[in-house]
Amino acid sequence: MRWAGPRRPSDRRCDRPDRVLDSRVELGSANLTLVKASTALRRSALLLVPALALAGLAGCSSDSGTASSDSAADAAWSYTDDTGTTVTLDHRPERIASFSDYAIGLLSNGIDPVAIFGRVDVASDPRFDGYDISKAAIVGNSYGEIDLETLADAAPDLIVTGIYPTDRDGTLDLAGPYYAFADVEQQAQLAKIAPIVAIEVGGKGQDVIDSSNRLAEALGASQETIDAAKQKFDTAAADLTAAAKENEIEVTQMYADADGIYVVKPMDEPETELYSSLGVKFTNANPDGFYYWDIYSWENAAQMMTGDVLLVNVEGYQEADLRAQPTFASDPALAAGQIHSWNGAALDYTSQAAHMEQLADIIRSSKKLS
């Protein structure tokens, strides 16, 4: 049970475990309630920080990588990231520090980071299986907890992280910290160690992958490596399309806890957007309205029981917990046992190819229920 990506309700910045714990001291329990308050406002996409973003907006494709004309490592290097920030260095960065999700993307393109910080324990994160990260310094294993000294010792030339839009239009909150950082103060300290670039995680899945590749290329990844990964991706994508055609079932991607059920709006999450574009049918009862999630209290669970198979986020209620909820027990997919623990994968060709194979298997092995 691991977390692949940051797309889940618990991803509100204020819900970081350390914050919750700090506020757990009893007399400060009002703080805890404030943490909860943010849950109430979860409909506000701002606090949800859930989705990946509209990378394909103005910035990404048109502004595409002003990476240096000269790819030699000793020539001046400049790169404009998805926030529009241009980083200029006197040489192409060789030593990269990166947040886990994007480190996986870099690794898949043959670029080995010298430092990695994660939202969860990096050493045991299975998404790194198959990559050798033994030489990388692990400088953080929990959201916003980054060991600045160890990071500085790793002497990175560049720090890579992400940014999530706050709404469906892809609005980026540039006054706030980037994803993976505790606050703007921490971000300012990090910026003193090395310049920071951010990958926008929202909107179309393909755009996020493209952004990741664009950065990798600017950092020296070869076109052949990317093309090889794309080939696997294309094969898996074609197979997923075939599976979705063979068995036209509805897939519900959700998270659940005591407050109720959160159904992912497939067009607001880059990964589900990508799979939708390949023909997978996701539950999409309410494409407009609040960003990213449709939220149903347990009393209203019946409103979202249209799916033939449930993909439940690894962090929330699992099958046994869901069966214990009387108002959800009648869900057809649950009753048929068509329920799978699910997590987002990193948005790069290699990770997505593997993830799509899993999804294709699930689709083929599920029955249409209605």
Partner: protein
């Protein structure tokens, strides 16, 4: 003599009014929810569970109403005992490490045993709460004694900090534990079932007995420890009984719904402004008000969230906070 009789009947009248109000609130809690089914459908489902569409009545309304009544009552009374014991108007039942102990036990359960079943969680929370408050009591008793409430409060705060640190360590070391912790630590009446409520009822019942056995001592303690000693109060006994009441009541509440703040703090103040500081009246009034406040806030939360709901903790902070400020502003807050 006549005056005290008048006062007593006035207080009795207030208690009866509170009881009636609570009945109305409980009825509203059955009738109202985020799924706007008609009162007729609620009644049908209530009396004929087979026709309970989507299990809304028996799967959601009934359990959360029962839990709201029980937990609110426990927290209100525990808060009143707590404030009386510590003579601190800001004391909250959690101050003795009860919630922190329950949380750590639940986290250890997931970490070591890998279990997060409802029943196991409940018993772990109860056990953790008991162990924590025994620890607090021992630390305080070994130190400067129990005559002043200060060592108890300090020991409680220190032990809580230690337990929170341990919880933090386990939670950050293991993601499965973190996930389970996150779900548990958010106090809520939503999504809970009545599984294991029998055990919690036993705890709550025992806590009630201790609380009412503590009434006279609490009245004496309100005069200050010196004076209450002079009145022949056995301080050790008074503290042990009070602490047992607080622990059992809070443990039952926390085990059922997770930690819920503000009820234990606010309810006794409202009660004091209605029935005065005599604990024989204050405790039942605090219990009734605690249950009423918790359920009312829960109902409000159900109605303002669309297809979703606003968690009771949020509504409590807003409503409870405003009520609390109003009480303080009116200057009716009895000095303890």
């Amino acid at each position: 003599m006549r005056r005290s009789t008048a006062l007593r009947s006035r207080r009795a009248l207030i208690l009866v009014s509170l009881l009636i109000a609570l009945g109305v609130i409980a009825l509203a809690s059955l009738m109202l929810g985020s799924n706007l089914i008609s009162p007729g459908a609620v009644l049908t489902g209530l009396f004929d569970p087979a026709r309970d569409e989507g299990a809304v009545v028996w799967g959601s309304r009934v359990p959360r109403t029962a839990l709201g009544l029980l937990v609110g009552c426990c927290l209100g009374i525990a808060g009143a005992v707590m404030q009386g014991q510590t003579r601190n108007p800001l004391a909250d039942p959690g101050i003795f490490g009860v919630s922190a102990g329950a949380t750590l036990a639940v986290v250890i359960g997931v970490y070591v045993l890998g279990t997060s079943s409802i029943l196991m969680t409940l018993w772990l929370a109860l056990a953790g709460a008991m162990v924590a408050s025994i620890l607090v009591f021992t630390v305080a008793a070994l130190g400067r004694g129990l005559s002043s409430p200060v060592p108890l409060a300090i020991a409680g705060t220190a032990v809580s900090a230690l337990l929170v640190a341990l919880t933090s360590y386990l939670v950050l070391a293991d993601e499965t534990t973190l996930a389970a912790y996150r779900i548990w630590v958010v106090g809520s009446l939503s999504g809970r079932t009545l599984t294991g409520i029998e055990g919690a009822l036993v705890f709550a019942g025992a806590g009630l007995v201790f609380a009412f056995a503590n009434v006279r001592s609490l009245d004496n303690l309100a005069l200050g420890t010196e004076l209450s000693k002079g009145l022949g109060e056995n301080l050790l006994r008074a503290r042990v009984v009070g602490l047992a009441a607080i622990t059992l009541l809070t443990a039952a509440a926390v085990a059922l719904t997770g930690p819920i703040a503000f009820v234990g703090l606010t309810a006794p103040h409202i009660a004091r402004s209605l029935v005065g500081g005599r604990h024989a009246w204050l405790l039942p009034a605090s219990g009734l008000i605690g249950a009423g406040v918790l359920l009312t806030c829960d109902i409000i939360g159900r109605l303002i969230g669309g297809t979703a709901e606003v968690p009771v903790g949020v509504v409590l902070t807003v409503v409870g906070g405003v009520a609390f400020i109003a009480i303080v502003r009116r200057g009716r807050m009895a000095t303890l």
